[in-house]
C-alpha cells in the first residue's frame, strides 16, 4: 500500500513571492506522481505529472515539481505566485506496476496568496 503526506495544510504567501508545496510519499514499488489543483467551487484539474525520465517536471501556469527518489518527495514550486493561484493543491501517487490501480491522494494544501 502507498501513502501520501502533504506536510502543510495551509501556506500563506504574498503575491510575486516564490512558493513550495511539499509532498512526501511511501511505497514499496515505483510510482507515478501527480499534482492536481482545485480552484474555488470547481473540480480538480491536472497541474503536472511524473511518469519517468527527467526528474524536473513542468506543468501549467508556471508550476514545476521535482521528483526525488531518495527522499521520496515530489515538491511543487512556483517562482512567483499570482492572486489567481489561490486554490487547494493535491498530491497523488499510484503504483507503476502491480498493486492497486487506484490513486492515493494527500489531504491537500491550501495556498492563499495575499496582495
Amino acid at each position: 500500500a502507498q501513502s501520501v503526506t502533504q506536510l502543510d495544510s495551509q501556506v500563506p504567501v504574498f503575491e510575486e513571492a516564490p512558493v513550495e508545496l511539499r509532498c512526501n510519499y511511501s511505497s514499496s514499488v515505483s510510482v507515478y506522481l501527480f499534482w492536481y489543483v482545485q480552484y474555488p467551487n470547481q473540480g480538480l484539474q491536472l497541474l503536472l505529472k511524473y511518469l519517468s525520465g527527467s526528474t524536473l517536471v513542468k506543468g501549467i501556469n508556471g508550476f514545476e515539481a521535482e521528483f526525488n527518489k531518495s527522499q521520496t518527495s515530489f515538491h511543487l514550486r512556483k517562482p512567483s505566485v499570482h492572486i489567481s493561484d489561490t486554490a487547494e493543491y493535491f498530491c497523488a501517487v499510484i503504483p507503476a506496476s502491480g498493486g492497486s490501480y487506484i490513486p492515493t491522494f494527500g489531504r491537500g494544501t491550501s495556498l492563499i496568496v495575499h496582495p
Binding site: 467551487n41 473540480g43 480538480l44 499510484i94 490501480y101 487506484i102 494527500g106 491537500g108
Partner: protein, 113 residues
C-alpha cells in the same frame, strides 16, 4: 474538450431520503470514480468502476452504492441519507492506463438536514 458533468451543483435532502448523484463523461473512458471531499480529510474514495457493470469498494463505501449500466454514466446512490453524509461529492473518469490523468467533474455539494 474533455468533459465530466455532474447532475447537480447543490442538493438539499432530508434524513432518510434516497439520493441519486449522477455523473456523465464524454471521453469514452474505462474507469470512473466517486470521491467524497471534506475539509482536512482530502479526497476519500467511495467506489471505483473499471468497466460497465463492474465496481470495487473504496475506502468508505458504507451507506453508499453505485450503478454503471452504460460506459459514460456512473451513479452514486445514498440508500437512506444521513446528516453525516453532508459533504462535497466529486466524480472523476480516467482512461484505462494507471498513468493516465483523472478528469474531475465540478462536484455536488450535498446537504442532508
Amino acid at each position: 474538450d474533455v468533459k465530466v458533468t455532474q447532475s447537480s451543483r447543490y442538493l438539499v435532502k432530508r434524513t432518510g431520503e434516497k439520493v441519486f448523484l449522477e455523473c456523465v463523461q464524454d471521453m469514452d473512458h474505462e474507469n470512473m470514480f466517486w470521491y467524497r471531499q471534506d475539509p482536512g480529510l482530502g479526497l476519500r474514495l467511495i467506489y471505483f468502476s473499471y468497466d460497465v457493470k463492474m465496481k470495487e469498494k473504496g475506502d468508505i463505501p458504507e451507506g453508499y452504492s453505485v450503478s454503471r449500466e452504460k460506459k459514460e454514466r456512473f451513479s452514486l446512490i445514498l440508500e437512506s441519507a444521513s446528516t453525516n453524509q453532508t459533504s462535497m461529492y466529486l466524480c472523476a473518469s480516467r482512461d484505462r492506463g494507471y498513468s493516465d490523468t483523472q478528469y474531475f467533474g465540478p462536484g455536488t455539494r450535498l446537504t442532508v438536514l
